[in-house]
């Protein structure tokens, strides 16, 4: 009986994987070659012939070693997540805020939609630019291998950050009331939060999401057509 593990280990000596992973690859390749060899022996080959033919399946062992290493090499999950989620997420947040500041400095103001107590301030020039920012975040996340969920999260990240800021207003407001002793009318506070929530979170979130989903769909369509073309 041949020691297939030893034969493979000798040929894949330079496989630069973790010891456990390397041992698994060697055991797996050895088992495969053993099966191949057995199949050839059943066909009537001599043992030397069968071993030689089985080993020749690897072609160039150095090349195989390089291919296995490239296929097995893992990116660090944290590094991957940074590029798939956090970098594009904070980029969309920073860009959307810078864009809003720039528009404000240029004198472009928001406009009130509806009138009376339910009037909502919509910053239309800002909203018009948000799909592009959402699309940029989605593009960076997709290029880094981000899933659809990552892309959606990244696109709407500025809206999520604003939601967090709004939610913080409740306890802060209550604390301020407790310190000053003033009694606020909760219905007024709730109306303001609802209106501002629609104008600053829901509508911008939808604008960002539309851009993000469109970019993701376009990238998917392009990569699948490239795959079909290259084959």
């Amino acid at each position: 009986m041949r020691d297939w593990k030893a034969l493979v280990e000798e040929r894949l000596a330079g496989l630069g994987l973790e010891p456990k992973e390397r041992a698994e690859v060697i055991a797996e390749v050895a088992a495969y070659l053993e099966d191949i060899c057995e199949g050839m022996l059943k066909q009537g080959m001599t043992e030397d012939e069968a071993v030689g033919r089985a080993l020749s399946q690897a072609g160039n062992w150095k090349n195989l070693q390089r291919k296995i290493f490239a296929a097995k090499k893992r990116e660090q999950p944290m590094k991957k997540r940074v590029w798939q989620v956090w970098v594009p997420g904070f980029l969309t947040l920073i860009l959307s805020m810078l864009f809003l500041t720039a528009l404000y400095r240029l004198g472009l103001r928001g406009r009130l939609v509806w009138s009376g107590p339910i009037a909502i301030l919509l910053y239309t020039p800002w909203l018009a630019g948000l799909p592009f920012i959402g699309a940029l975040g989605a593009y960076i996340s997709s290029r880094a291998g981000g899933s659809r969920a990552n892309v959606i999260f990244v696109s709407v990240f500025p809206a999520l950050a604003l939601t967090g800021a709004f939610l913080l207003m409740f306890p802060i407001g209550l604390a301020v009331q407790g310190v000053t002793g003033s009694q606020g009318d909760f219905s007024i506070v709730a109306t303001v939060l609802l209106k501002d929530g629609i104008g600053w979170i829901v509508v911008p979130g939808v604008a960002l999401l539309v851009g993000g989903l469109l970019a993701h769909a376009l990238l998917n369509a392009r990569s699948s057509s490239q795959r079909t073309a290259i084959g």
Binding site: V29, L33, I36, Q57, A58, G59, N60, L64, A71, K72
Partner: protein
């Protein structure tokens, strides 16, 4: 025989399709593919394992050591739910390609 360049593109589809019927170890996988394609697609050690490891890294297949009744340990691969989801669009892409080639060069597929 199919030219190596064309085969390379079909390798993912071949492996995922053959695993759709159930878990298999490398040798059995290569044997089934060869048998089902009547020898047109043949996997060697050099073509099969790098591909399996790539598919495993993508989360489309999962390998686990299993011991057969004869006491042999083999690493068997099974299709994950992500792999099952991926198989349908890959099949659709290949069907579209075959259809396009058929129209273009009157190539027909079996």
């Amino acid at each position: 025989m199919i030219a190596p360049g064309i085969k390379r593109g079909t390798a993912e589809l071949a492996v995922l399709s053959v695993l759709e019927d159930g878990p298999l170890h490398g040798y059995e996988m290569a044997r089934r593919i060869e048998e089902q394609t009547q020898g047109s697609l043949r996997f060697t050690l050099a073509s099969l394992y790098p591909l399996l490891y790539k598919l495993e890294k993508r989360g489309w297949v999962r390998g686990a050591w299993e011991t057969s009744t004869g006491g042999r340990r083999r690493r068997c691969y099974r299709l994950t739910s992500a792999g099952k989801k991926k198989l349908a669009p890959i099949r659709a892409e290949w069907s579209a390609l075959f259809l396009a080639l058929k129209r273009l060069a009157k190539v027909s597929h079996a």
